[in-house]
């Protein structure tokens, strides 16, 4: 099938990602939405679609389409509750069908105010989960250890993956762990043990921050400020609810569905550049590259460290990922946003003239990928819900 260029990402924004912002998720989401629309050259009055996870908050600070519509004084026609790659694909579908013309996809989390209990969804008050003491790292550690058992994946390979991603965060001034990320395998392995086999440096961050993506039609994109970033397709599959069912490697059974997503878009894996994996934990990119079809099941431990470097075939998480850039509890949009920023050559790092788009490609200070044109933005990509979107520039 031919690649269709009908729908595009035209605006993106991420607020400052930080711990203890002192601001509510609603306040952060409004800032991100305004800024992403400004980036697109659009106004809230242009928006008629809204896709975001909703959650309650005290004092009217709940994040939901009704509150957003009311506060911005802008009626919204199309709404859905999801984020990241799923949301971009749903926006594309809604735009192609005419349900909406301009869709905003905001996401925010705040540990300090509103929408606030620190990732409380990861410890559901569920009668068969909570009492076991299986908080998030333990849930995914069970999966990582099974992958090690079945395929011979090693803790050193996972540490290599985590350290390479954290190297990118270490030189990203916008990363929560800028300048202090665990950027060598030794640092990763020597960090405090949280839930075997994961040390703290193999677990994602918990911080505040917001993001927003603006999606519109090819026609509308012509009037926008930046060149369109095309949404070429992708795939989605749900298999279970994380934290409710016992964690297993079942997600790997989504591989066929993911492969069909590439086929439908007419894209070969080998032609993609950046791959934004969902690096919630160090095993994530290994299992996901297998599930996305970049390598065979079980090969990820060897394959991923070989291809993920900034100068290698498929640079993974050049922003520093959830491990060191940001995990604001709803971090899926960051995957698409980093692709857009790499495509646009808007990549803050330590290059002296990086802010002018002049990069050194000296990997001690530079995290700009060379001339990316086609990329994979994955996430949500946990154990129950898997999806990715294919993005391209002209």
């Amino acid at each position: 099938m031919s690649q269709q260029r009908e729908v595009a990402i035209v605006g993106v924004h991420a607020t400052k990602q930080q711990r203890n912002s002192g601001r509510s998720a609603l306040a952060l989401i409004q800032e991100a939405t305004n800024a992403a629309l400004d980036d697109a050259g659009l106004k809230m009055k242009d928006v008629d679609g809204y896709i975001a996870f909703t959650f309650e908050g005290g004092n009217g600070s709940g994040v939901n389409e009704g509150n957003i519509a009311h506060q911005f004084g802008q009626p919204i026609a199309f709404t859905a509750q999801i984020s990241g790659a799923y949301a971009v694909q749903m926006a594309a579908g809604a735009i192609k069908q005419g349900y909406a013309d301009v869709v905003v996809i905001p996401a925010a989390g705040s540990t300090t105010l509103g929408g606030g209990k620190a990732a409380s969804y990861t410890r559901p008050e569920y009668e068969f989960t909570e009492w076991t003491g299986s908080m998030t790292p333990a849930q995914f550690a069970i999966i990582a250890r099974r992958h090690m058992h079945e395929y011979g994946t090693t803790i050193e390979q996972m540490a290599e993956v985590a350290s390479r991603i954290q190297h990118n965060g270490n030189i990203n001034p916008e990363a929560v762990l800028f300048g202090r990320a665990a950027d060598t395998p030794e640092k990763v392995l020597n960090a405090p043990m949280i839930a075997e086999p994961f040390t703290r440096a193999m677990c994602s961050l918990v911080n505040d921050g917001a993001s927003c993506i603006v999606v519109t039609s090819a026609e509308r994109a012509k009037d926008c400020r930046h060149d369109p970033i095309w949404v070429l397709g992708g795939a989605m599959e749900n298999r279970a609810t994380s934290y409710f069912e016992a964690p297993t490697l079942d997600m790997m059974n989504s591989r066929d569905k993911m492969l069909r997503g590439f086929q439908r878009a007419g894209i070969r894996h080998e032609d993609t550049d950046i791959v934004m994996c969902y690096d919630h934990f160090a095993h994530g990119p290994i299992v996901q590259m297998e599930t996305l079809g970049f390598c065979k099941p079980g090969e990820g431990g060897h394959y991923v460290p070989e291809v993920m470097g900034l100068d290698s075939k498929h640079p993974i998480c050049p922003d520093g990922g959830n491990l060191s850039y940001s995990h604001n509890m709803i971090p899926y949009n960051f995957k698409q946003i980093e692709i857009v920023r790499q495509f646009r050559n808007d990549v803050p790092d330590l290059c002296p003239e990086g802010h002018k788009g002049i990069h050194t490609y000296d990997r001690r200070i530079c995290r700009k990928v060379r001339d990316p044109k086609l990329a994979v933005g994955a996430g949500p990509m946990t154990e129950g819900r898997h999806g990715f979107v294919l993005l391209a520039k002209d």
Binding site: F128, W131, T132, G133, S134, P137, I142, A246
Partner: protein
Amino acid sequence: MEAPMLIPPYPVPSNLSQPFWDGTRRGKFLLQKCGACGAYRWTPQWLCTKCHSLDFAWVEASGDAKVYSFSVVHRPPLPGFKAPYVVATVELAEGPMMLTNIVDCDPKDVKIDMKVKVTFDKVSDEISLYKFRPA
């Protein structure tokens, strides 16, 4: 090795799961068995996850399982858990996967594929938790 010490809230049974918790309180390990295809399932559901029949009965299961995978937790999520402790997915002899704790052994001795047996931990007059120990 001690089991994790818990603070309330303990599990709150639903009208679906009440028979299960009634069982653990009496030292019985019950699972739902499909009335149509005979499949066992976990977690409790109103329909058979294999054939979608709504017909089921709670039957006593063997309590036998093997460790599918596990993690030794060193930093508990909440006060009241005493680290280190073992969280595991076990594969029940009847087929379903179950999240639980492995107790009555040193966490260092837990291995994947290890045979384990259910054991009950009474935490209140209403609730006895189901955990697994080396068989």
